[in-house]
Symmetry: C2
Subunit: 263 residues, 2 copies
Amino acid sequence: MQELHATHYFCQRESAENFKYAEPIPGPSSDQFAQLAAELDIVIVASIFERRTAGIYHNTAVVLDGQRGIVGTYRKMHIPDDPDYYEKYYFTPGDYAPGQSGFEPIHTSVGKLGILICWDQWFPEAARLMSLAGAEILLYPTAIGWDKQDTETEQTKQLDAWLTVQRSHAIANGLPVAACNRTGFEPAEPQSSTDKNSGIQFWGTSFVVGPQGEILAQASSNEAAVVIAELDLSQNESVRQAWPYLRDRRIDAYAELLKRYRK
Amino acid sequence: MQELHATHYFCQRESAENFKYAEPIPGPSSDQFAQLAAELDIVIVASIFERRTAGIYHNTAVVLDGQRGIVGTYRKMHIPDDPDYYEKYYFTPGDYAPGQSGFEPIHTSVGKLGILICWDQWFPEAARLMSLAGAEILLYPTAIGWDKQDTETEQTKQLDAWLTVQRSHAIANGLPVAACNRTGFEPAEPQSSTDKNSGIQFWGTSFVVGPQGEILAQASSNEAAVVIAELDLSQNESVRQAWPYLRDRRIDAYAELLKRYRK
């Protein structure tokens, strides 16, 4: 599912009113999806504005696996804050506790899912940590779009960069990647009709790529769609044997990746 | 310049004979390029099979800057070893000494160059470490091509993956990236004419992309070319202000990037 699918994308404005959309996990939304996953015997990745306690709220993916109910959650680790995406106001970043929380794949009946959320998709570190922990697929619930005031050239560049950086995670790690994005226009203030141009044109284009970054399925930019692709996870291993990046990482020389800046 | 431009790509076979191509730095090749850089008042990035001492040989980029001569070297950090690319036999991996060798940009009169070589291009860690050390451009001397026995579909996938992963380094780090690749067919055994199909069809396609991964210039796959692009390095900062990934890296949660595998 796309990011924060239960509501409009309320992060276009900072307003304490919006905390009313937060809910616990388990809670009404996860219960509803758990029921659906059981009924259809499928795995669902839902995206929930999570109330962990008074004052701690997360942007959380919850995974429902058939009869098993909730099999794991992932709390968004990288939180953006840019004009129209005021997420640092709402979301506490996910915790890091090796083996427990942070970049930890979720084991399901269809494979080990490396679930990351939106802004995480721009960070090769996140994709790498998931693949090093055994993730077999990366999945990105997403809410990203255009500012209508940008030129068409700039809009094309942005969408292309978004596709490119995620395809690169597939390539660098030898696994499939899927992103599910919102689509359609959402005004900055849903209650008001004063400024029809102020808002985000979510660019859709949800996609699935294989372990060489090859596009297997892709939605259009302006229509809701169900994107279907068949994945053979055994390809991860044959691709990694042909392109053995994981063999050759210079872990003796990567220590400064843990610095903000090297100067 | 493309990777190991002074000779054919001798790594298609393991043969002690080929160590005769190695030379010191400074040495004949670097002297020649130093002279040319001074004469034309330009910066040249040359690629040399370096003899450091008896038994230690590197795949090294050397940077010549106008009248200043050699201003820095970079020794390839990630060494491949795959059918037709037997580089681990020839090249000792570059050393890591923070601030001295490893992923260290080279200061030149045209900017701080983050020089990486071929196989390095598949590792987001290398690109990140260079940008965190202040690199303003990434440059990849390269020798990569097709195996003629692969299908056209597979060949297209490989070239596309190569472009995609390098464009993603530009995007993730907000800086331009350029790659200079060999072109043309080189038989596995230049001295023999017995098997005309055994060899590498180097795929050219040398390119320059801007800090959003947008392609500014690109050569064809089968002809030698000079690729020219004008870069405004001040764009790095405006792009990074719009897409502030470096602000949001979770350095508190990246420790396990230093592991071979997290299990």
